[in-house]
């Protein structure tokens, strides 16, 4: 789902950076209001956690496995703001510290996975928790994978119409919605199922745990 460098047009990623800038300011301001001296270490720990969760291999029905996203877990346990900032920092570290690329797509990736993923998880959970908490967590996790997948597919699929030559030849990502939507969304239906199982198991663990033994 993570978009590499060179496939998003400046017409897409520059406005996305502007939108992400506003969202980062919103998240950082809210965080400063609710936390005090733990802000810095906690944000750092959550960034490392978001990175680490991305390394965990989640079994996907059908015998394969994929990397966990973990954004639902972070959003449900620590809030949307922290999850969003932590995810954005992970993307920046991957790109600028480990050379994994994606600096142009950082804002789109952060908005899709970090912000929309966490918002989808939290809203779904709040909506459904009265019916059944476990199901609410599972569906929230599933949505937190599916919605970013959908948004990334839309961002990529829009490229041929946003940036092309006069003869219609694309300049960046070459495929339109007819290809990107099924190619990204269908696998994410299954990846979301793996993420849902993982999130429910960790949710139970987190509820039972008192976090820190002195």
């Amino acid at each position: 789902m993570h978009i590499p460098d060179g496939f998003l047009s400046p017409q897409t990623y520059l406005p996305a950076y502007a939108a992400a800038g506003l969202a980062w300011a919103w998240a950082a301001r809210g965080l400063r209001r609710t936390l005090d001296e733990e802000t810095v270490p906690r944000l750092a720990a959550m960034t490392a956690l978001a990175y680490g969760l991305g390394l965990v291999m989640v079994p996907i029905p059908g015998g394969t496995s994929g990397h966990a996203l973990g954004v639902a877990m972070l959003a449900l346990l620590f809030g949307v703001r922290l999850a969003f900032l932590a995810y954005s920092l992970v993307l920046a570290l991957q790109s600028l510290l480990f050379g994994a690329g994606g600096i142009t797509a950082l804002a789109v990736n952060a908005l899709a996975m970090g912000l929309c993923g966490s918002l989808a998880a939290l809203l779904t959970y709040r909506l459904l928790r009265r019916m059944n908490e476990t199901a609410a967590v599972a569906i929230a996790a599933w949505c937190s994978v599916l919605l970013p997948g959908l948004l990334v597919a839309l961002a990529l699929g829009a490229q041929p119409s946003i940036a092309h030559r006069e003869d219609g030849t694309p300049l960046f990502f070459p495929f339109g919605f007819a290809i990107t939507l099924p190619a990204v969304v269908i696998p994410h239906l299954f990846i979301g199922a793996g993420e849902a199982v993982l999130t429910v198991l960790v949710w139970r663990f987190a509820r039972a745990r008192k976090w820190c033994s002195a």
Binding site: P41, A44, K210, S213, A214
Partner: protein, 265 residues
């Protein structure tokens, strides 16, 4: 210099971690905190560093009570922070600066010492860290991180060193250096360990903490090490089989220098 009176501490809705600890440490004294895992040694050291506050009881440093109100007073806190320093059990928790040199200079800079850079250079050299000065602390090995964390607190030239399991990730040579340094430095030292061998190297006096942070013993270290009932109740000795030239036998013992325990067997 350090005075604790009937200290009780527990996290909210959790069992007691320190239960009635009273303690007095003179200037220059070396006190060893002995206790099994979870006996409250780390919490006691954090309390002595003014990082957590007891539910009841009093902590006096240099005759003055350490209270949240006093810790808000800039001048007093600055003196306290530069005189009483803590080496955390996991050095990673202490390393947050871009380079080893910055890490060591951080404390003196933050507390306003003009010679912060010179102090950093001195402690880089003293601990053999000069070749690593421009590296990021997190990229170092466990033992190197421990040394950087140690240099970071020693650069404040403190009067009281609080050390939480300081040799846990040091190699034998660095451990030897640390033991010699602590014995010669003339500073007040409170060191926690469950390693009786380390305790005997430092030992003058020890405070043994039992389960739930109950103080079991406060007195000369050699006597504590020969009190089998005390060590058993503090979970510091255990029983398992030993093999010597085909002969197998079991007895209560601690993993320490042979001579520490042989005499009382």
């Amino acid at each position: 210099m350090i005075e604790l009176t009937d200290i009780h501490f527990a996290w909210p809705d959790a069992p007691a971690i320190l239960d009635g600890v009273s303690l007095s440490v003179r200037e220059g004294e070396k006190l060893v905190l002995l206790g099994a895992n979870g006996s409250g040694k780390s919490t006691l050291l954090k309390l002595l560093n003014g990082l957590v506050q007891p539910q009841s009881g009093a902590y006096r440093y240099g005759g003055e009570e350490v209270t949240p109100a006093r810790l808000k007073s800039g001048e007093w806190t600055r003196r306290f922070r530069s005189e009483v320093v803590l080496l955390f059990q996991h050095p990673e928790a202490m390393l947050f600066n871009p380079t080893v040199r910055d890490e060591i200079a951080y404390g003196p800079r933050q507390l306003g010492f003009a010679d912060a850079e010179a102090r950093a250079e001195r402690w880089l050299a003293a601990l053999g860290l000069t070749p690593l000065a421009d590296k990021a602390p997190f990229a170092l090995s466990g033992g190197q991180k421990q040394k950087v964390a140690l240099a970071a607190i020693l650069s404040l030239d403190p009067r009281v060193l609080l050390l939480d399991e300081p040799v846990s990730s040091l190699d034998p040579r660095a451990s030897g250096w640390l033991v010699d340094f602590l014995l010669d430095c003339g500073k007040t030292v409170v060191v926690s360990t469950h390693n009786l061998s380390m305790a005997t190297e430092l030992g003058e006096r020890c405070l043994v903490l039992g389960e739930g942070g109950r103080p079991l013993y406060d007195g000369p270290l050699p006597e504590a090490l020969h009190d089998r009932a005390l060590l058993e109740s503090a979970n510091l000795v255990h029983r398992h089989r030993h093999r010597h030239d085909g002969d197998t036998h079991a007895y209560m013992h601690a993993h320490t220098h042979a001579h520490d325990w042989e005499s009382s067997r």
